[in-house]
Symmetry: C2
Subunit: 290 residues, 2 copies
Amino acid sequence: MAEFIAVDWGTTNRRAYHMGQGGAVLRTERDDRGLTAIAPGGFAAEARALRARFGDLPMLCAGMVGSVRGWADAGYRACPVSIDDLAGALCWVEPGRTAIVAGASHVGGGRGDVMRGEEVQFLGAVAAGFAPADSLLCQPGTHCKWARMAGGRIASFRTTMTGEIFALLRKHSLLADFLNGEVKRGAAFQEGLAASADGALLGDLFGERASVLLGLRAEEDVAAHTSGLLIGSDVREQGLHAGETVYVLADPGLGDLYCAAIEHMGAQALLIDSHAAFAAGISHIWEQHQ
Amino acid sequence: MAEFIAVDWGTTNRRAYHMGQGGAVLRTERDDRGLTAIAPGGFAAEARALRARFGDLPMLCAGMVGSVRGWADAGYRACPVSIDDLAGALCWVEPGRTAIVAGASHVGGGRGDVMRGEEVQFLGAVAAGFAPADSLLCQPGTHCKWARMAGGRIASFRTTMTGEIFALLRKHSLLADFLNGEVKRGAAFQEGLAASADGALLGDLFGERASVLLGLRAEEDVAAHTSGLLIGSDVREQGLHAGETVYVLADPGLGDLYCAAIEHMGAQALLIDSHAAFAAGISHIWEQHQ
């Protein structure tokens, strides 16, 4: 397999990988040139700038760059989705030079779900042997993705708004003044996880503020407690089986919080390097398409 | 009972009542002179302005005007709270002239809750015979209050952030562009109620957008569907018994949506005039304190 440039191109951030022979990562660069930073029609110039730094190589992009607000709509592949399905459905924005990987979609019980970029990581995690072919994977973030893998394919998935709800509460809500404290694994976070057991999130959120007013909780603990409540609610929504292993693709900080929540619910959590998973996935797609 | 001025004084709005002999409401006035519109130290001047319009009468206020951000901190009475408890705990900000009713607080399962203003409506609804002495009352709004009455007192209550979460989603979230449609009782709202049955709100919210992207739902239906999902989740959190009656204190628009949700869950809903309940409650407090 020859060298190429792989780009995980999201809404606010972007990570470019210089991929070498045999799928080796020669170099990566992360910046804030996500979709929101790029004017309409500006993507070709961005690709030129990347090639100026990484070399005049073919380029394979994944993520929101393939949405209607991105460079071009790369579409969605419906579940079950295999890595070969993605390799067979590239959207060429510069013929023979630059392509975008399709997203994945899932419909179940009348509810639709979509992802762009995470499908490469999930399939890459299995392709690289980081997770078994039949497993449950989780990628926390602004929108947390939970993917059920079966036979190495994404059988189904579900996205939760957990991170965005926390951000909305912190920036704009009645709780905003109380959510400036540090969020870390500790007693307050664990108590928040336990509080999520009642399945009554809308009421529990109001209680975060009232509990401070009534002297039941220290103000500096509210952020961690609320985070525990939200992440605990998120994990509970997935209906984990006791002892089941969840493979978590995340940076250590947020990954650690999700691992704590998963373990609190009686399951096992294993942290996976999401960049290595992306590199493995995009390499397989590049190799297969040729 | 002599004439007085009653003021339901909230964060953004205010409603003043000219109360006549025997608890009759002679006149009411609603304006936007809530707390956020009044500079620190400006409450006495506001009271003078009200007296200039309503007459030089004693004044009894309730609501957020009794918070630390209001005229004075009128404190909280812990549940169970009777109307006599409130009458015995007035906070006089102008001796013999102007008083503020205390709020109510409740602690259960390590979670605290508070209200200011709604306690007068709940106790007034029972005092006026609009609801039985043992009943469940609900006051929807930015923060929805659910009060369990026992022996005519507020035995416990719980506040949900339902209305605020909807407003945050509509103003600031990924869903914002999809939430401009009309929210009314109809097929989309009912489907949202049904969708809340899975108790997986964080995931269902993301599905609101994805379902449009995948052509499963019309964009103009998303606001009503999301409202049904949130209000349905709120009502489910209360664990209603089949056939139980919930007395809803609300304006017809929002009240109608909550009544639909309550009936969807197999309980009965009865709409009560919240202004009449406030007038009854504040009259009883005024009468009892003397």
